[in-house]
Structures are given as structure tokens and as C-alpha cells.
Amino acid sequence: MSQAESLVVVDGVSFSYDRQDGPIQTALDDVSLTIRRGELIGLVGQNGSGKSTLARHLNGLLLPDAGRVLVGDVDTRETEPGRLAGTVGYVFQNPDHALFLPTVREEIAYGLQFQALDESEAAARASTALAAFGLTQVADKHPASFGRGTRRLIVLAAAYAMAPALLVLDEPTGGLDYRLTSRLVETLRAYIAAGNSVVLISHDMQLVANTCDRVLALSDGRLIADGPPGRLFRDRDMLASTGLNVPDVARIAQALPETLVDPDTVAIDDFVEQFQRTVMKRELR
């Protein structure tokens, strides 16, 4: 990979929260990684492993105690989160933290005012985002009137509308049913195909396995794995020691003979495709 493609570089970052009670809590410990264009990255780890803390470093909400974070070639210490919002979008765990306007459409157009867009382009972007998340029908309703799932879609659409090169989503599928989750995944895939990148924080290993082509695993603030999901989910000892579960598909693939299915298979679609190629063909013969 050439240097030009890197979007965000995290270089030896350590961070502790300033606590008034108890010992200082190391939330990130010497974490280094590079996020390139066109990547859909899963970020996994137990509760309190430092996922959100890492995410907050990517747009400068938190600044490292040691090391540095580069967005493009800007050090996050030399700018402000608000100015990075056009490049790195970050959607919080709780949608209520972001919503405040009287209609869904205004909510989605809000961030666009900070970008130098002419009015027609801003309107077009807002409409595209509304359509991408299936919100066109409810564009003129009050965001607070919806359930948690729809409120989440609204904040996702608002971040998407700003077309950041990197979109960081903290637990985006909480409150979304199967249908909405699949729709979100499709939207994200299209977004990646257009040359953008996504960091998807999730506790749902099967979702990560199905959608991501690279997985980062954090444990006690340390980056303990960074690579394709097939490799990560084969390392059972490491997973067990960090309390992460193996997705069902990976478990089945690892149990079957290698001649039927590649043991590195983790995504359901991938599994079905291989299975059809090998087993079904044999059956038909």
C-alpha cells in the first residue's frame, strides 16, 4: 500500500483518563495502526477495552498523552474536532446526544452548513442521505417522535450526508432490527466502493465477520490483533483470553474438512457460496 492512500495514521498512541478517584486508568496503551481508503474495518473488544476511546482519538475529541494521530497530514493536536468533521465523521453510541432540530431533514442538513457547499448541492446531499437510510417519507417529522432504531438511522444519515472520507460508527446496530441492519450494511458497502472508509465498532462478531475485511481487536487498551477476520477468528486461544466469541460461521467452517470449506471462512455469504460449489455440486452428480 502506498503512503498516499493512508487516511488516518495512529502512531504509538497512549492515553489515560484523568480520574479523581482510584488509580489512573490506562485506556490506550501504545496503539499503532493505519487506516487506508476503501477499508471497512471492524473494531472489537470487551466492554471497557478502549474502543470508544480509540474512536475519539480519530477525530481529535481526545488527544494522545503519548504518540500522535494524523488525519491526512494534519496532527489532531493542531486542529479542532469540529474542523475534522468533514473528513472523519463519528457517530456516538447514544443518538440522543446528537439530535436537537425540529425535523429529520434539518437534522441531516445541519452538518452541511459547516462545509462550503452551495444551497442546491447541500439540499441534494441531504436528499441522497435521506434516501440511503429510507428516511425520505419521514423527512418533515420530529426526530424525537421516533423509536430508538429510527433515531439512530437519523444520526447515521446526518454523518453520511457530510461525506467524510472516514466514517466511525460506535455500536451503530443497537436498536436496529435485522432488516434495518442489512440495509445499513448495504449502504456502508456502497460507501466503501466509492473510495471511503468505515470503522465499525461492534459486539456482534457475526456482523463484523460478514461485513468487514479487516478487524482490529483491543484488550485492556492494547491492540492485540489487526488483520483479516479469517485469521483473527482462527486464533481461539487469543479470543478466549480476551473474552471474545467466535462467530457461528467460523466455528462451522473450522469444523468441516478443508476440502469442503476454507477454514478461514467467516462470512455467511462466503460460506454458502463455497458450500454450494463443493457439496452441492457433488450431490448433483
Binding site: 474542523r83 468533521a85 446526544h97 446526518a158
Partner: protein, 269 residues
Amino acid sequence: MSVARASFDFYAPGSSWLHRRDPRVKLGIVIGGSALALLWINIWLLLSVLLLVHLVLWLAGYPLANLWTVWRTIGPLLIVVILVWPLFDRSGTALVTLGPIEITGMALLRGTVTAARLAAVSFVFLLWIGTTSVRELVRGFVRLGLPDAWGMSLTIGLRFIPTFAGIFQTVTDAQKSRGLVLEGNFIERGRLMLPILVSSLVTALRASEQLAMTLESRAFGATKRRTVLRDIQMTAADWMTLIVGAAVVATLVYLSLWHGFGQSLTAPF
């Protein structure tokens, strides 16, 4: 460590002499101490009160870091008082003249005295809220006649302050992530803060809605008389403190009102 603490709790747990006093006695100390601080205008006397209170808090094992946080919080206000006072007070001879503004030594001194008084009252309050848990604080009020339901609301309200501060911090971060940059003059910033206030309120309201449901499901308000797990009790030491304290305050008030004690700006008493 670049984040500001999401919340700050004045209360520091402990088992010192001060911690063990009945909350009603400590409330009495606050009332007496504040009355004296407001009665006196002598700078040395006010500084002595501040010094004494710091000494007592230190002996009670109150964390110095907390004291520093209180100073940092009230500091800007104190500085504003000292700087703004001369704009309204023209007594005495001018030290500096800046166009229409005359700054006199007398005005600076009066500003400083007012600031010292504010600081003294703040730290006298800290004797009470810094060493009394929310539970005891509220039991104190209830035993002084506050209805139970109010006591419960007060407890929850006080508990909510750190939560709300946390929400405010998170919401600010969420809005920054959406492109908000807090800049410009005072009014401009205020306008930019509006989204943060709205979202904080919505989040807090949703949280309190949840809380109301939780309380109801735990049968809050079902009975008039409530059982209390561990009630507060005046001990002999509490009565002694109250009596000695009242005598000292009464004497000082008498001296101040009828014999001019602490009524000169600078004269040593």
C-alpha cells in the same frame, strides 16, 4: 490527560471529627460562619477565616486537589469582582486614570474585600458539603422538617448534577463531531451552545423519565411513612460543638455590631 473531568463531586468521604458531626450541626456552622463573613469588611479578618477553614478541611483529610478545584472554579469570579469594582466605586484618590475610568486604591481594596468575602462564604459551605454525604445531607433537612418526598427529590436532584455534567460533556463532543466549532465572541458562542443545551436537556429528560418509571416500580410514594435504613443522631460531641459554636458566633456578632469589630477595611481588628 486532556479531558476535563466529566463531573466533580465536592464530597470527599472520610471519618474525621468533621465528617462525624451531625449534618444539622454543620448546617449551623455554615449559617454562623457565613453571617460573620458577611458582617465583616476587614480584609485581615476575612483572610484569617479563609485560612482557618482551609486548616480545618486539611485536618479533616479533605483532598488538597479538591480545594484547588474549588479555587479554580471561583477564581475567575473573584478576579472579575476585583476588576469590575473600581468601575462603580469612585471613592478615594485616583491611582490610574484611563479616559473616563478612574481606578482608586480604595475601590481596589473594597473589590478585594468583596472577593475575600465570597471566597470565605464558599469555603465555609465546603466545610458542610465537602464532608457530608448526600444521604446525610438530605436526612439533615428531613429531620429539620422537610417532607420525605422533597427529601427524595433533593437526593435525586443532587445525584443528578454529576450525571448532567457528564451528559453535557458527551453532547458537546457529539456536536463537535458534527462540525461544531465553538468560537467567536461571547454572544456568538452562546448561540453556538444552543444545540448542546437542547440535546443535553432531551437526553436528561429521557433519563429522568426512566428514573420516574424505576421509582414507581419500586413503590416510591406508595406509603406515607417510610422506614429509614440508618438515621442520623445528635451525639454529645454534636451538642458540645453546637453550643460552643453558637456562643462564639453570638459573641463575635455582638462585638461586630456594637463595638465595631471587623468594621474597618484594613486596621488590624
